[in-house]
């Protein structure tokens, strides 16, 4: 009898499982709260997360969900219409824009800088890297820290006799795009070699190692004496990693601070489609590797309520939201940029 009753119990359990799964399909009720769904770039994700949470709390009629899956993933979701908006560090190129029938509005919401963080034991003052030096490092040509191209800009500094270990991103990433865009702008050799992209073909030597995500690169730099890698400013600051002072277009060595990044932004004229690139910002005191990051919206929404809510949200991010940017390690948008973007917002229907 026993095995049989067990079998019966198991059978009943199976039946309930199968039917249970099929009956719980949709939760039905036409939501009183409006939900905005977004996905994309992970570079500004900490800031967006904070903004959307604060905004959702302040206005109880709107809830915003943002999934940080990466710029490429965001653009894909956006073209396939599975989200209401997306975010990307590399904006969208003309080809991608042409695929969206309703039209696209690209809105820069914040900006950040990419820094070269390093781990050199026993070095007290910040490392200065000339353009020749850091391009050389990322081309795999400068392989020891006491190389003369590095030493030239660091007079009086006792550079260790240690191999250079370059840490790069293993996954495809907007941070890589911003960094390679800059390197390609200042070095023809880099442009012809690895080139610009979210994932490029880095030199294949034993001293190049790759780690996933910004935090992976950060952890690897912390753990590896003699390493240098490119990460988002906020991550380096949080990990208290030293960041190199980089030579800018004007020939000065600039520390990566929010002020210096803002100086770089101020030197750029916003074009009509708001796709402004700063591969090599001019001007004194400008930190050289800075980029905007964009919110992607459709020009035309089926649901007018949704369009209205989204416009309200973006307006809030551009005004009140900017207050919290510096705290999170992002650059405040210059006033004139905010005005332009708010103006552009009206084209969303």
């Amino acid at each position: 009898m026993k095995p049989n009753s067990f079998a019966a119990a198991a059978f009943v359990l199976l039946i309930t499982l199968v039917t249970g799964c099929s009956s719980s399909t949709s939760d039905g009720d036409a939501a009183a709260t409006l939900k905005l769904q977004g996905s994309g770039a992970s570079f500004p994700a900490p800031l967006y997360g904070r903004w959307f949470k604060e905004y959702s709390a302040a206005t109880d009629a709107v809830r915003v969900d943002y999934q940080a899956k990466g710029s490429g993933g965001g653009i894909k979701d956006f073209t396939e219409h599975t989200v209401d908006f997306a975010a990307s560090d590399a904006a969208m190129n003309d080809e991608e824009i042409a695929e969206v029938d309703e039209g696209v509005v690209l809105l820069p919401l914040t900006a950040g800088s990419v820094v070269l963080a390093y781990n050199l034991p026993g070095l007290s003052q910040p490392l200065k890297l000339s353009r020749e030096a850091y391009v050389g490092i990322f081309l795999g040509k400068v392989t020891n820290w006491n190389d003369k191209t590095i030493a030239a800009a660091n007079e009086g500094v006792d550079l260790p006799d240690l191999p250079v270990t370059v840490v790069r991103r293993a996954d495809s990433s907007g941070t890589t795009f911003i960094f390679t865009n800059h390197l390609s702008a200042i070095s023809q050799e880099f442009a012809d070699g690895p080139g610009v992209g979210k994932s490029v073909n880095w030199p294949e030597t034993g001293n190049f190692i790759a780690a996933p995500k910004n935090d992976g690169v950060t952890a690897t730099i912390v753990q590896t004496p003699g390493s240098i890698g490119y990460i988002e400013f906020g991550f380096a600051e949080q990990a208290k990693l030293p960041m190199a002072e980089l030579e800018n277009a004007a020939g000065e060595f600039i520390a990566p601070t929010l002020e210096n990044a803002a100086t770089a932004l101020a030197s750029v004229e916003m074009p009509d489609d708001l796709r402004a690139w700063l591969p090599d910002p001019e001007g004194e005191g400008a930190y050289p590797i800075v980029s905007y990051t964009w919110l992607l919206c459709y020009k035309q929404y089926d649901d007018p309520a949704k369009a209205k809510a989204l416009k309200e949200l973006v307006r809030w991010c551009l005004t009140e939201g900017q207050e919290s940017s510096p705290e999170m390690g992002y650059v405040r948008l210059p006033e004139n940029v905010v005005e332009t973007v708010v103006g552009k917002l009206e084209s969303i229907q």
């Binding site: 019966a8 993933g73 293993a170 190692i209």
Partner: protein
């Protein structure tokens, strides 16, 4: 087996014999049998469906790159050049290294736990602790590798490279992530699989064989190495193959530890890459051009893993049958 169960129920519960099963009982019994069979087939169908889906998505890449995909070494999204030879090499090399380390320790543990070296309670505790290793998440192993294993290895690796650098295995210096740390962590991850199945194989060696060996005057170690290990060898081999299959597919820990560098090197300290790590790193942001290529790589990984696992399953089946034969 079935014969034994009937006799037991007859003697302990005589009333059931006179009452024929009711229609309800028959229906439940049939229903249960039917549903279990259904689920078994669904599982098989699922494997085929996955292979079909992956192959279908990989088709554009297979047509475009063909066999050269397996033999070229560049992964360049900008120039549309893709090859996974370094990843195939890295997958097999890291798994083999892990198998060498993990296999040695796994089998040693299995011997230690089955040959009456310990009182039963302690044996039970040990057994469970080893199996608990399987419950630790991959990411935790990865972090442990970065923060504990690599710093521990660094002095040894530097010494080996400085003094024995002429030897190909120590040909490069350890910059941090690389083959050896990845393989060491991987070997710990496959330890539960290897030791659990080896233990089963060892404990299914009939007591009589052991007694016969002792009867002929063999010492304990002679009995273990001369008689018990050879008798269980097929099962142990099966354990190693399953452990190998496990190592091939491991993703997160490797993505964090292997260095993700697109190169082929025999040196233990140089960074490399594996298929699973490549997929984990590139899938989240893959665009339309890259997706078929990644699917193609996934198909290759799936093929390698399936082949290894099927072989392992066959050897294991063969081995268990042989032991049951002896037991009779």
């Amino acid at each position: 087996m079935p014969a034994a169960t009937t006799t037991v129920s007859e003697s302990t519960n005589p009333t059931t014999l006179s009452v024929p099963p009711s229609r309800w009982e028959i229906a439940v019994d049939r229903g249960f049998r039917l549903s279990t069979r259904l689920f078994a087939w669904v599982t098989v169908a699922l494997v085929f469906l996955i292979v079909y889906e992956v192959a279908g998505n990989a088709m554009p890449a297979i047509r475009r790159y063909g066999f050269s995909f397996l033999t070229s070494t560049t992964w360049d999204l900008q120039k549309d050049q893709f090859g996974i030879l370094p990843e195939i090499w890295g997958t097999l090399y890291s798994s083999l290294l892990a198998l060498t380390i993990g296999g040695f320790f796994g089998i040693s543990i299995a011997i230690f736990l089955t040959q009456d070296f310990l009182p039963p309670t302690i044996e039970w505790i040990f057994k469970n602790i080893v199996e608990l290793l399987a419950a630790i998440p991959s990411v935790v192993y990865g972090l442990w590798g970065i923060f504990v294993v690599i710093p521990l290895l660094r002095p040894l690796a530097t010494w080996l490279h400085d003094h024995l650098g002429w030897f190909p295995l120590f040909g490069t210096s350890l910059s941090g992530p690389g083959m050896l740390p990845a393989a060491i962590v991987l070997s710990i991850m496959i330890l539960p699989t290897v030791s659990a199945i080896s233990r089963d194989a060892l404990s299914s060696v009939p007591e009589k064989i052991k007694e016969a060996a002792f009867g002929l005057g063999a010492t304990r170690w002679e009995a273990i190495f001369g008689v018990i290990l050879p008798s269980a060898s097929a099962g142990i081999f099966g354990a190693l193959v399953l452990g190998f299959g496990r190592a091939l597919g491991e993703t997160m820990a490797l993505a964090m530890l292997v260095g993700n560098s697109n190169q082929i090197s025999i040196s233990l300290f140089s960074p490399g890459n594996t298929l699973a790590a490549l997929l984990a790193n590139h899938f989240p942001e893959a665009g339309r051009g890259e997706e078929p290529v990644l699917m193609y790589a996934a198909l290759i990984l799936l093929t390698i893993t399936l082949l290894v696992n099927i072989t392992g399953a066959f050897i294991l089946k063969d081995a268990t049958q042989r032991f049951q034969g002896h037991a009779k």
